[in-house]
């Protein structure tokens, strides 16, 4: 039998490894976040002045230029910006004059709420639908299930939102249109956003469930007399969740940004809408802050996803044994 001893060739610790790449990642993000603004057209000082409704004489523009220290070399500005950012100082919004961190912070909760609610909505329907359509492929149930889900997410977001608002807000008057206040206000925006994700999750799940169900261990599970629910939930679904999880990690950024339309439509006081307004108003500190903010969120979520992933797939955690 194999012999075993204490670790002699200890690989670099998992966490140190993660930490280092995390820092590199953050550095990259900050670079891009800063550099991004150089690509956007429009002259900053003028934009600032315009946005506050002032016709700018040249001296004023120049003064502001100096005030913003825009004449320094790029790397100095970057360094200054970075060191401030590290102290959680992302500057002052050109438009509102309030600290960017404060502005973003006050909208974060709303966005998180909406994102989670829509995710919950999507999962609530997509998990059972994905599983069911995979369990009975090529049947009417499958076809109808798929088409229903697909129709929902084939309809462009803003059209669907308007339709829902019209039907449930104006005609039936069941739900408020402005997605604000209590939980009722969350339903329409979350449903609109969730519908968009529904198809993606359902179909991914259907695909990977089909794959999972063709695995040998499913047959073994049946032979062992496992309860069908347990077999589907614990074995097949768990196996099938991997691609869905990857997709979630990847789309979380899109999710945060993709809520812009819905936030605008339902007058939801979230980050995405604020960001787009800031882009239109050339509110650079806010845009940079937002970019940094959402990048952080995405990275964090992805770390969590990675951890979940390694729970679902032991080979990744244990590093497998094989090399190409």
């Amino acid at each position: 039998m194999a012999k075993e001893g204490e670790a002699r060739v200890m690989p670099v610790n998992f966490f140190i490894h993660r930490g280092i790449s995390f820092i590199i990642l953050l550095f990259g993000i900050s670079l891009v976040a800063f550099g991004l603004m150089a690509l956007v057209p429009g002259d900053t000082p003028e934009m600032v002045l315009t946005s506050i409704g002032v016709e700018a004489p040249p001296e004023t523009v120049e003064a502001l230029r100096q005030q913003l220290q825009l004449d320094d070399p790029v790397y100095i500005r970057y360094g200054r910006w970075l060191s401030r950012a590290l102290h959680l100082d992302l500057g002052i919004s050109y438009r509102t004059g309030l600290p960017v961190v404060e502005e973003l912070g006050s909208r974060l909760a709303a966005t998180v709420q909406l994102t989670l609610a829509s995710l919950a909505f999507a999962l609530l329907f997509s998990v059972p639908l994905g599983v069911l359509t995979a369990l009975y492929p090529k049947t009417w149930l499958d076809l109808i299930g798929r088409i229903t889900v697909l129709t929902g997410s084939s309809i462009p977001n803003f059209w669907l939102g308007l339709l829902l608002a019209y039907v449930f807000g104006v005609r039936l008057q069941w739900l408020p249109i402005a997605g604000a206040g209590g939980w009722e206000g969350l339903i329409l925006p979350a449903a609109t956003l969730g519908f968009g994700m529904l198809a993606a999750y359902t179909r991914l799940l259907r695909g990977s469930m089909l794959d999972a169900l063709s695995q040998g261990f499913i047959r073994v599970g049946r032979a062992k007399g496992l309860k069908e629910k347990w077999l589907i939930g614990r074995h097949a679904l768990r196996y099938a969740l991997l691609p869905v999880l990857t997709w979630f990690g990847i789309s979380i950024g899109q999710l945060l940004g993709g809520s812009v339309v819905v936030e605008t439509l339902f007058s939801w006081p979230g980050l995405g809408r604020f960001a787009v307004e800031s882009i239109q108003g050339r509110d650079y500190p806010v845009i940079q802050g937002y970019v940094l903010f959402s990048a952080l969120a995405v990275v964090t979520v992805n770390v969590v996803v990675d951890c979940l992933y390694s729970c679902l797939d032991p080979r990744i955690r244990l590093g497998g044994g094989r090399e190409p």
């Binding site: 039998m1 194999a2 075993e4 060739v9 044994g321």
Partner: protein
């Protein structure tokens, strides 16, 4: 092929936060296979045979040691160099199902090695695939089927067909015939022997079946706990001296319903097999060796040559 001091470690973890442990799957194995020779490898289940096999064909990175094939060092060979070597170095995997791409027909799988080295007319290749299938006792029209449509033994033969397609100089067969009925098994063994004669092929033949080993192998290496504990000519198996080999030989079933073994009720048969956890010094067999001595507990026995080819690692019988 010459292998010296080959080692392969795996790191394992009991739970997510536990420290990693090192598991030695192959430990300090040295062996050599000459042209037109067959080396049989037998040994306990889980002793590292498959790992050794994978290392031998360089599909797994070795932890240390050298493998020389045709004068080339495999462990340091470049990608393309290795690929060229593989023309003469094939393997039959232990698990026939997993080794076949479920999305491709077996025909495609079989001609894959041919395609890699002798790309040619598709018609020709197809014929070749049919021919190979026939050789291993399958119907040629099976070439259009997918792996999941085959039985275990059929798949095993597909794997053999694939490995033989190139007529390589050395084939590593990891329990290549274990799922076959005795008639087919005999046929396949005959086939292998015939090919050996014809093309001067060599085999490393991993199996549990001592009958097969006797028939096909020139020499037999016995593995235990990642190490080779005895090497001897296949014909002289009966003259084995390592306690484990002797034990293996004695455990052979009679094959006659009238001469059934008397089951020793209640007795714990030959102790727990090896250890999997704590480090161990001394002989791998120490917990179940009937002739244990003090030295066996503390010192690891080394492989000693006692006959012209006979080698053994045992303190008592060396």
């Amino acid at each position: 092929m010459k292998v010296s001091n080959l080692k392969k470690y795996y790191t394992v973890r009991d739970c997510f936060f536990a420290k990693r442990k090192i598991l030695t799957a192959v430990d300090n194995v040295s062996l050599a296979v000459g042209r037109r020779e067959t080396l049989g490898i037998v040994g306990e289940s889980g002793c590292g045979k498959s790992t050794l096999a994978r290392c031998l064909v360089s599909l797994e990175k070795t932890t240390s040691g050298q493998i020389q094939f045709d004068g080339v060092e495999l462990t340091t060979a470049g990608r393309e160099e290795l690929r060229q070597l593989r023309r003469n170095l094939q393997i039959v995997f232990q698990d026939p199902y997993a080794a076949l791409n479920p999305l491709r027909t077996v025909g495609e799988s079989i001609i894959e090695p041919l395609l890699n080295y002798h790309p040619g007319d598709s018609r020709e290749l197809e014929e070749k695939a049919e021919q190979l299938l026939t050789v291993v006792g399958l119907k040629p029209e099976y070439k259009n089927r997918y792996p999941h449509q085959f039985s275990g033994g059929q798949l095993q033969r597909v794997n053999i067909a694939r490995a033989l397609a190139l007529k390589p100089a050395l084939v590593v067969c990891d329990e290549a015939v274990s799922n076959l009925d005795s008639i087919v098994k005999t046929q396949i063994v005959d086939l292998l022997l015939r090919l050996q004669d014809e093309f001067n092929m060599s085999y490393i033949f991993i199996t549990h079946d001592l009958h097969v080993v006797r028939r096909i192998a020139d020499r037999v290496a016995v593995m235990l706990g990642g190490k080779i504990v005895e090497v001897l000519p296949a014909g002289e198996l009966a003259a084995a001296i390592h306690p484990y080999t002797r034990y293996l030989l004695s455990a052979t079933l009679s094959g006659d319903p009238c001469k059934r073994r008397q089951r020793q009720k209640g007795t714990q048969p030959a102790g727990p097999a090896g250890r999997y956890g704590t480090a161990m010094s001394g002989c791998a067999l120490q917990h179940r060796c009937p002739e244990l001595c003090e030295q066996c507990r503390v010192e690891e026995p080394l492989l000693k040559t006692i006959g012209s080819i006979h080698q053994v690692a045992c303190h008592l019988n060396g």
